[in-house]
């Protein structure tokens, strides 16, 4: 390594080190946009958890009120009302819970499968790698939206099918990231050391390889949640997502298309909600990538 960075590294090694987690937290906090992202994400999660508790689904979220349709923002309805007289603010907030929960569930499923496939491919290499990755490539080659449309169109428009569709599209991405991370770590000397003391492959993968490959996987998880939410909004926009009358930002956007000229507030708020959610998740993901990278190489 060149000497300037050697000096810096020696300086770092020579100073007392706290735990790695504390280090990472500090780095993350130094990144203002990442902190902003984190704060917003936490707020969103809170909204997502509290909305179903605070707002009564039957009376406040889906009840139509024809006497109150298309009202502009006012004290009673801060975001106005939609074409069926429902309060846009309440629906927008409620939709947070829908989007976030589907996003998280999908990612957990895709991560679990991706971890297994990716570690196997990355660790064993050779034929195993080839077979797994070629199958993943097939799925990656199909545009995510198209794949989701096909699955939903054939299996029906329900939340479970939506999750399946999204998970199928997301799994190859995780498998790829995990594979890459595993391959980086696989040739480390401590993995060789584990083999030298008699560890079996499975043990090595779980105890030595994966714990050290976490960084890119964590980043991918954050970004993938954002991606799934956006994708669902898109599907809902074309009518293949969350079935009505459940509030969903994309569906709300779609419904507002007809009224966009005179009642622009109808699309503004769901649109803003999507934007803020995706942006904050991406900011957080990027921030995590920077904070994690040099430490957990």
């Amino acid at each position: 390594m060149n000497n300037v960075s050697a000096v810096k590294e020696n300086v770092q090694i020579s100073v007392k080190k706290k735990s790695q987690i504390a280090d990472i937290w500090k780095r993350l906090c130094r990144n203002k946009t990442a902190v902003l992202g984190l704060v917003i994400v936490i707020l969103l999660v809170l909204v997502g958890i509290l909305s179903p508790i605070i707002f009564d689904y039957e009376t406040q979220v889906i009840k139509t009120d024809y006497s109150n349709t298309l009202q502009p923002p006012s004290a009673a309805h801060p975001f106005g009302t939609d074409e069926l007289g429902r309060d846009i603010l309440i629906r927008t907030l409620y939709a947070t819970s829908t989007s976030l929960s589907i996003g998280v569930v999908t990612v957990i499923v895709a991560l679990a499968i991706g971890l297994v496939l990716g570690s196997a491919a990355g660790y064993f290499g050779g034929k195993v790698d080839m077979i797994i990755m070629r199958i993943m490539d097939i799925f990656l080659a199909i545009p995510g939206t198209l794949l989701a449309i096909c699955i939903v169109a054939s299996l029906g428009n329900s939340i479970i099918n939506l999750v399946i569709a999204q998970a199928v599209a997301a799994t190859p991405k995780f498998a790829r990231v995990v594979r890459g991370a595993v391959m980086t770590v696989r040739d480390s000397e401590y993995v060789e050391a584990a083999r030298a003391i008699g560890a079996k492959d499975a043990t090595i993968i779980f105890h030595d390889v994966l714990p050290n490959s976490l960084a890119p996987i964590i980043v991918q998880t954050t970004l993938e949640v954002a991606s799934v939410i956006l994708s669902i909004a898109g599907l809902s926009f074309i009518g293949l997502g969350i079935p009505a009358p459940m509030p969903e930002w994309g569906a709300m956007l779609s419904a507002s298309r007809a009224y966009i000229r005179d009642y622009s507030y109808m699309c503004m708020f769901p649109g803003l909600a999507i934007m803020i959610t995706i942006l904050s998740l991406n900011l957080l993901g990027d921030g995590l990538r920077d904070a994690l990278d040099p430490r957990l190489r």
């Binding site: 390594m1 060149n2 000497n3 300037v4 050697a6 000096v7 810096k8 020696n10 300086v11 770092q12 020579s14 100073v15 007392k16 080190k17 706290k18 500090k26």
Partner: protein
Amino acid sequence: MSEDIKKDLTAEIRDLVVEFRTDYGVVQALNGLELEIERGKTLGLVGETGAGKTTTGLSLLRLIPNPPGVIVSGSIKLDGKDILSMSDKEMQAIRGKTVAMIFQDPMTSLDPVMTVEQQIAEVIKLHEEGGQAEALKRAREMLELVGIPGSRGGEYPHQFSGGMKQRVVIAMALACNPELLIADEPTTALDVTIQAQVLEMMKGLREKYNTSMLMITHDLGIVAEICDKVSVIYAGRVIEHGTLEDIFKNTRHPYTEGLFNSLPNLEDRQAELKPIKGLMPDPSNLPKGCAFCPRCDYAMDICETQKPGRTYRNDTHYVECHLYNKDNIHEGKVKSR
């Protein structure tokens, strides 16, 4: 010392204090470093990791990364001129021309996407008159000088072996005939037979151009091979300095003695190695008195509380240690190897 008016010094560092201000604390990298490099001579800077050798080298080029590094106080003079007061532009003119540096790892010192002659020519064009053609011609001459056929100039770094890459780096450093060459562990990454070739070559070039050299190393064998004078650095200060004869045959400081004792003796293979106990002190938390005191076999009470001053044995040899004063320094309490 009244002698310095008579010395022709290429580089002079007086009382240099350099700190690295990090989140975890302030690292005292250099604590009042003093260094003198005479024209045409080679000074060896010997110490272990963390002693401040590389920081010293970088200071001479004013390349300390800032942040987190800060030159707190002291003076650095190159060819009599104070470089700490120079502007960035003036420093750029000096780097590569008056003073050049060779780093340890030739792989990262060379740009992988430029041919070797282009890299040498780049240095020449930056500091000297003449166009591309002339610079390339001169670059090829430099390659020949370091033992690489000029016809290989059009090749890329990855096509050369480690030893040859280091020669290219040396050619680049010497291209503008600098007054001072700083070599930071230039042969540590090389095989021992290649190291011998490179050192031999450096000696030859030094003779030819009368270049002054600062050889930063931890290897006392290399010091014996190529240096005229030696400064032993520990925790950011030079704790012993002298000619080869002074340091090798009249070792005074316990740390220097410890370094020699840690080396396996080629003559007597059964002799047990006598390592220095303990570790280098934490530079963000240096001991109050003498920095070496916690590890020193000869430590006295005063060593814990007071930093030792300089004691001279003769015109060239001094040591910073409470064991000595001007009366007993000639005897040398420290045992010879």
